[in-house]
Symmetry: C2
Subunit: 405 residues, 2 copies
């Protein structure tokens, strides 16, 4: 007997037939003698509709009221799944976030889970009842409903698995696992049987939107045995686990890309101490998240500064940079929103030399110009022109020996 | 300065434009210096959709889960109205039933309000904040969400008005008041400026679906100053009030009708003590609500028994009656679902003679046969063939001097 958390996303509960399918997947675990808690998202499209209502009501809406509105979608699906499970003879009840309760901080619309009270759910699970918990939501210190930000149901599931000390946390989704890269672009992409938390974290943050980044962080912190699998096909998924649990480590295990990038270059910036703060301070104050930064060597006291930021923030960033032009003291500004970030990811990099070099040479051989480079312990990212995305992904996938055999 | 509860039904909050209109109607009361609490229904159609989901999930669904699902519609509208009010510069916050809290009994899906804790809301209203409260819902002794039955938002509003000791409870709806009869059938129907609680109660229970019956009972019990008015037109509505507050009382103030009727006649029932219990006991056990009952005089120890019940319950009632045929000992059963109940209502009946007689003669003059008669202190109801509905309503409306001049 094991204690299991199963999480199903919006496409898995998109309509009554899909929710029936979810009920069958839950029944399977119950029939196998497991104690089961289920975490659900809203029906796909519903949360978007609710968000649209809020935006229609006011441009700057109260995040407390936003949370009250958008948290309702999950309360519908959990009730319906509980009814379906009961009709299959399985004791079940639904739990809204405030009922568990799942305590969060007071950062409405992007709250963080502080603590989950598990007494009630644990005793009911021990008595054979399936707990169907609304994802994406909790209750703040003010007694009002909070939500965890888009994709927050993944985090709800991992947090619940950690709090329940669950043996497994299965994330059911509309893809059947984590791939070496996007199979829509690279047909030879392979499904990874296992991937480390660290790698998954980099992939999630780099736009491979299988899991919410925060859920992976939490799984890593609490060593939650995480599995990504399909709710439509009964095949093995991808296990997200510790490095030690992976026997044959590849040097590079995945290639991610993100089109959500824009590049800004400031030319002729006066090179003196504090200039970076002059430029990036105002951007940060405007909630613009700068990602990659490169500064060229200084020539006669001036330098060029290039950095990337989310594409949607570019107009606002240009506004901010225009306003600080005099104090920042740059000569010229160029920008582009036709760039893409391509990253190779793998824990094997820590112990292998020449991994980045292979990336640079592979791209050079294809005539692909690298605009910006940034590296971390288990990742190398390059910024290239968007039109080379597919070419770069396929070339790198082959170069690192990731193609399906 | 007055303390006011405003209630808006589903058609009044059917979409964002309508909710904006509601915000303006709330603003008007705030601008007039009043303390305002608002009670909302779900967007029209939403609750029906949620109910359909539950019915789709299982024929016999857990009412606790049903409540968890169907209570979400109101949580959406209250959040959206709070956002709109805030955007107009009016302090406002939404309240789910469990947050107020509105305590109910544990009769899920048809719960009754036990107590409303008003401390929080009263102090916030005193501080100038509009309280936007989700109608139709509360929290049971088990800590789970309850709902009050269809149309329950009227009851929420009246209960809140009573608990807050409000000066007025305005029920905004898609009709502009209570009419002497259905204006779609009788073009000469008049809007009543005032109607007594007792009359409103009879009208509500007889199918004039302006207010939920329970809300009128509660308004009468707690002497809540109730007004029915249009959310689309700024014209006076109908005040539901004490008899003493109506100066010119009509003998008959309204004519109601209900098509939701079926008639059953049992012929040749053995006439002995206890026979009624033998027949009506099993019907009651099956939750079939028998309304009018007439028993003819006994002939040679046998009698005919006619009674009415809700049309939707007829098939189940026939089942029950077939099963008890032997013990009930009736010779023959006939039934009809093409009957309608027409009622004249007026507190003036208490002090006037010949009111019923005028009804009978008016119908007789039109050749309309009366199948069953039942009377109460302020009401006379007759059962007639459905095809005569319009003819009967118009004739009675004229006979009792209700036609618009």
């Amino acid at each position: 007997m094991a204690r299991i958390v199963q999480k199903f996303g919006g496409t898995s509960v998109a309509n009554m037939d899909r929710i029936r399918n979810v009920a069958c997947l839950v029944k399977k675990e119950v029939d196998a003698g497991n104690q089961v808690a289920v975490v659900l998202s809203a029906m796909s499209g519903v949360t978007n509709q609710l968000v649209a209502y809020c935006q229609d009501a006011a441009q700057l809406y109260d995040p407390c009221e936003y949370d009250a509105v958008v948290s309702t979608g999950e309360q519908v699906t959990v009730g319906l799944l509980a009814i379906l499970l009961q009709s299959m003879g399985i004791p079940a009840r639904s739990w809204a976030g405030w009922q568990v309760p799942i305590h969060t901080d007071d950062a409405h619309s992007r709250a963080r889970i502080v603590n989950i009270e598990t007494d009630q759910i644990l005793s009911r699970m021990a008595a054979g009842e399936v707990s169907v918990v609304a994802g994406f939501q909790g209750i703040g210190p003010d007694g009002r409903v909070t939500t965890l930000g888009r994709g927050g149901s993944d985090t709800s599931a991992v947090a619940l698995a950690a709090a329940l000390d669950a043996d497994r946390c299965d994330i059911y989704t509309d893809v059947d696992g984590v791939y070496t890269t996007d199979p829509r672009i690279v047909p030879k992409a392979r499904k990874l049987p296992r991937v480390t938390y660290e790698e998954m974290l980099e992939m999630a943050s780099l736009g491979a939107k299988v899991l919410q980044t925060r859920s992976v962080e939490m799984a890593m912190k609490y060593r939650v045995n995480l599995q990504v699998r399909s709710s439509f096909e009964d095949i093995p998924g991808t296990l997200v686990c510790d490095e030690e649990d992976i026997v044959e480590k590849e040097v590079v295990s995945g290639i991610a890309y993100s089109r959500d990038e824009a590049k800004v270059t400031l030319q002729g910036v006066k090179d003196h101490p504090g200039v970076a703060a002059t430029i990036f301070g105002p951007l940060a104050e405007n909630n613009i998240n700068v990602d990659m930064i490169v500064q060229n060597v200084s020539e006669q006291g001036h330098t060029d500064l290039t950095f990337t930021l989310p594409r949607t923030d570019l107009p606002r960033a240009l506004d901010v940079l225009e306003k600080i032009r005099t104090v920042a003291g740059y000569r010229n500004l160029t920008h582009s929103d036709t760039v893409v970030k391509v990253s190779i990811i793998g824990v094997g990099m820590r112990t292998h030399a020449g991994v980045a070099q292979k990336m640079f040479s592979t791209l050079a051989e294809r005539g692909i110009n690298i605009l910006v480079i940034s590296t971390s312990e288990i990742k190398v990212s390059v910024l290239i022109e968007e039109e080379y995305t597919e070419l770069a992904l396929r070339a790198l996938h082959t170069a690192y020996g990731l193609d399906v055999h």
